[in-house]
Structures are given as C-alpha cells and as structure tokens.
Symmetry: C5
C-alpha cells in the first residue's frame, strides 16, 4: 500500500492539512495517509524529508500560509528552496501548497482559496502517484490551483494528443 | 536521555539562549541541554549541525537577533537557508528563533519580544521532540511566536479533529 | 539508443513539450523520448532528476511558462536553482526552457514565442547530446532562443576557429 | 598542533589576511597558520573547503572587501551562501570577514574598519577553536566587529550566567 | 600534464573562450586545454563539473555574457550560485568570467572589456594552478579584471610581506 505524507503548520490560519486529507479520501483508496504538523513553513522541508525517509512516504503534500509582510515572503522563499532540495535528495515529489494571506481580498475568500487550493493540489498528488497519464493529458492547458484555470492560449500549436 | 542543543550569538542583544533553556526546564524533564555560542547568525548553521552530528542532539534551537540594516536582513536570509540545509543533511529539526531589531518599537519591547519568542519556540521544540500530537492539534490555528496569535480564519472548514 | 527526457507543466498555457518532441523528431533519429508532466515549474527539478536516474535519460528538456506576477517570478527563480542543482547531482544537462507570460505583447505572440523557443532549445539539446562541435562553433555569436539572434559584437577579436 | 586557515583576495583593497595573521599571533600559540589568496570573494568558498579538507585546517578565516555596486553586493551574497555550504559539508567553522567598501565614509575609515574587523574576527576564530567558553559568556551582549559594540538591551532578562 | 577546462556560451556576443585560450598559451606550457560550449550561463555549472569529473580538468574557466534585462541578471545570479556549488562538490576552482552587457557604454567598449577580462582571469587561473604565490603577493591590492585596478587604500596597515 502506498503512503502519502501530509505536513502542515500551526502558523497557517486554515486547516489545509485536513482539507487535503479529505480530498484524497474522495479520490480513491489504496494508500495510507501519514500526517505531521510543524510550527512554520521553514520547518516543512525537513519534516517532508523525514516523512519520505523515515516513514516511507511515496509523495508528500506540504501546506503553509505565509503572512503578508516582506519577512513572511522571504520565509516562504526559503521554505520553497528547501522543499525543492528535499525532493532532489530523495527523488520524491513534494507538492507545495502555499496560500499567501494577501492573495485574497478578505478572510472569507482566504478560507475559500485555502480550501480550494489544498483540494486541487491533493488531486495533483494523487494523479502523480497513481495516474500520471492524467497530468500528461493536461500539459500546457493553463491549470491553476484555487482561482479559476486560465486555459491554453490560442495560436500556432505544436501537435496535441 | 534525549539531547536538546541550543546555539545563540554574541551579536544578539538579549540572552535568548538562556531564556530558551529556562523555558525548556519548565516544560519537563528527560533531556540534557547542550549549549554553544557563535559570533553571528551566519555561524549558526554549522554550529547546529555539529550539535546534531558530534554531540548527538535530537533537536536544536538556533537563536539570533539580526540588525535593522539591509545587509543584516541579507545575513539573516543566508543563515536561514543554511539552517534549512543543515536540517536536510541531518534529518533533524532545527527551530530557528530570529528576532529582527526593527520588529519592536523600542528596546523595552525588543527585550519582551525576544524573551517571549524564545520561550514559545522552546515550547515548539519540546513538543516536536516529546509531544508531536500537541502541534498536530494546533494545525491551521494561526499561532504566532512573540506577538499575539492571530487565530484561525472563519469560513468553510475542512473537517477538524 | 540514447534517451531524451521531456518534462513540462499543466500550468503552462502552450503545449511546449509536444513542440519540443516534434522538433527533436525532425532533427534526427537514434534516440527515445520519455515524457512527464507535472503541475508547475517547481515540480520540474525532481521530475527531471527522476528521468535521469530512474529512466536513464542522457539529457532532459524542462519546459515551463511562469506567470507575470512577482510570486510567479520567484517560483521560476526557485525552479531554476533546483534545475541547476539537479544537473550538478547527476552530471547531466537539463535544458531549461522558460517562457515568461510577460515577454510577449499578446497571446498570439506568446504562442509564437513558446513554440519557437521550445524548438530552438530542442535543437540545443540534440546538439549537446549528438553534435557538441556544432555548439562549439557558435561560441560567442549572440544566439537567442525565440526572439531573433543578436549576433556577435564587432571589435578587437580573440582568434576564431 | 591545530591548523588555522586564512584565505583572502586580490580584489580587496587592504591586506586583511596579514592583519588577521598578526592578531592570531598575538592571541596565543599552539597553532600553525596556512594562507591562500584567490582573485575575488566568489573564489573563497572552495578555497576555504580545500584548506579544511586538503590542508587539515580546524577553522578558516575568509576575508573579502566587496565593492559598492549592486553586482558587488550580489557577489558577496553568493560568496556568503557558498561559505555556509562549505561549512555544512565539512562540519567546520569558516569565519566570514567581509568589509563592504560603502560601510566607511572615506578610505581612511575603510582601512581602519578593515583592520579592526579582521582583528576582532581573528579573536572570534581563536576563541571558537581554543576557548569556546569565552564566546559562551558573551552570548546576547551585542558584540560588533569593527564599529563599536552596541551592547545588550535593558529589560526583563532571562537568567544570566 | 595538467588540464585546464574552458567552457563558454553561444549566448555571449564575443568569443571570450578563444581569448582565454589565447592568453593561457601566452602564459606558459605544461597544460592541455579542453573546451566546451553550451547555450547559456545556466548551462555552465554542470558543464564545468563534467570537465572536472569526466575530463580530469584541474581548473576550469567559465565564461559568459549576461544580457541587460532583470531576467538576465537573475540567470547570472543562478549560474554563479551553481558554479560555486560545482566547486564545493569537486574541491576544484572554477574561475567565473562574466561580462554584463550593460557594463560597457557601447559595443566597442564591450568587446574590449570582454577581451581584457577573459585575459586577466585566464592569468588568474594559470597562477592558481601553477603559481599560487603570485596571487598571494597581490593580496589586498585592489586588483580588477577588465577595467583598471583600483589599487590598495592608504592608511594603517597590517604587516605586509
């Protein structure tokens, strides 16, 4: 049975980890979910790597909600670099799900966005693990997680499948 | 017996290392504390890694107080990147506790903030090591270290536990 | 038979992966193409590394189309750092083909640019793998991928070959 | 006998390497100094790592004087990241001593600053190697290298030693 | 016989690789030059690492000419980080020779600058490999590659050699 890790933070203002778990369970079966929670986004990289190397996870979803200040942006940047390095050191995908507080116009939209993005990235994680051909067919189609998809651009096209 | 490393700097203007040590001792027993002090925040990453690999620490608290100038911000950024890399190379959490001098309106508030943040992150370190389920229950609840928690946002919720 | 990996994203708004594949097939034979699609540019580094280490690819073309916002620029920056690290950890070239949405004045030009750049970098990948002396002869000649080549500058010259 | 590496640059406008060496010899005995000079600050990381791994140095002092232009600042940033990585790969401290040309109001002050900072960091290196308890007692006391120490802030204190 | 690697780009607008080769041959004998050309600066790190690990080069000169746009500056930054990492992973010097297009006031000066900087850094590479004591004597003397040396600053001096 495959293992999917979910790691989130106490800093986030919405329980995106539980949302991702809920969505995964709607997607299918055949996997076990292992959850961890850390203080902030900069604690995510090593937590994700430990889920992979110590708990045998085949993929990890790492969720965080960086604040609106410049220092928060920098923390998110450092966390993203760490998550990429963690993936390179383990040859395992870690799906980063960050929702910046200032992406939404108010708290209600922020909650909606966090919920939606967590769900759409949970779907991405599921497909990467179980149905990579599903993503393959969506190549170059302008998918977005949270806000509406922008779609493909018109114009001279390479051959499509 | 578990080992908790504490590393701080001579650059900082408040003895956050001793504060963290004091808070840890209030939290419980069953651990030994090993302390180191380095000149500045950029010396923290290797010091933390040595505490883990040479002194057998199971977790490290790394404390620093970057100055208010752009070069200080850049040093803090480089130090943070290094602390994340040190964690990835050791599969061990290093809790970064940085207090930027310009976060507080005067020296009195700065001292209060440094004390408070060091204590709250010492609690995070303790929980990560001994009671991860405690953090797990605080997922997505808007915790902050130092200033007041912002709390969770209202709105459509994933399922909570 | 050599193996060329192609990895692109569902975030991109043009199917650059298929364009690259089409161009490669026009260049010659003697290679097998292995394709993967991931959600966004930050998922490219580990996907490329897996193509090299798990699928035996001798070179990889990684294609993405970062959006126009500052956060998109930062994602592209993190992805580029990761792609360089992936190359260093595998001693294998990964040709990055990024087209920023704001490089073109409208969607029509964007489609043209994405198509053109993907093709010209597919040629670079082919030459790196099969005809490195072809690139060697173009050293210092101001080649660009997509928009027109700027060409070499006039002036006192080192000896040319 | 312990070995202390000193590496500096031809780019710097003051012989900080010799200053550091002079200060070390005033501090005590029981160590051998090994010196290297490289073109610029970006050449320092590998030079420091070679001093550690090929010459057996127990600590290294890396000195540079970045220019005042944005590109110089970026070079210094890249060099600092490299120096931190070199430390993490060797579990050995490398004390970075950078003096930015625009930190001083004129050349006379710049020379004074370069001399003073090199000396104070040479002291840090000596203490890290031979008397770590000396640094331990200065934790949180607002030490600066070059310009005057800012000292500790007043306010509610953790327990001091 | 020692091996010196030279890697440059098709993106550059001046054949700096040939200039570096020409200068090296004027410096002396006892080495073999191995050349590679890649598309852009971000392809330099892995190419340099391959020259070291697969072709046995004892030092590498990596030459590039980043464009004047912000994205070009970012590419150069990423390439520099990669070149430093490549050095750390091989314990081998890679001399970075970047000429930014906007450093010169016109194409004529740009050609002069590219030629001059390539030559002066080729000298640095030669000295690092064969005569490190030559660089050692120039420590802190304000050397520049391309434009005129700025020289050492006056003032209180450490002891010189």
């Amino acid at each position: 049975m495959r293992r999917i890790g979910i790691v989130d933070t106490t800093f986030a203002r919405y329980d995106m980890g539980s949302t991702a778990e809920d969505e995964l369970r709607k997607m299918g079966t055949g996997f076990k979910i292992i959850r961890r929670t850390v203080p902030g986004v900069k604690d995510l990289p090593v937590a994700a790597k430990k889920l992979i190397e110590e708990e045998g996870c085949d993929i990890v979803i790492a969720l965080g909600m960086p604040g609106p200040k410049p220092i928060d942006k920098q923390c998110a940047h450092e966390a993203s670099q760490g998550l990429i390095m963690a993936q390179l050191l383990t040859n395992t995908h870690i799906i980063e799900v960050f929702v910046h507080e200032d992406e939404a116009k108010d708290e209600k939209e922020l909650a909606w966005l966090a919920d939606r993005r967590a769900r759409e990235h949970a779907q991405n994680a599921y497909w990467l693990l179980f149905k990579p051909e599903k993503l393959r067919k969506m190549a170059g189609t302008g998918q977005r997680q949270g806000f509406e998809d922008v779609g493909p651009i018109e114009g001279k096209s390479g051959m499509r499948h």
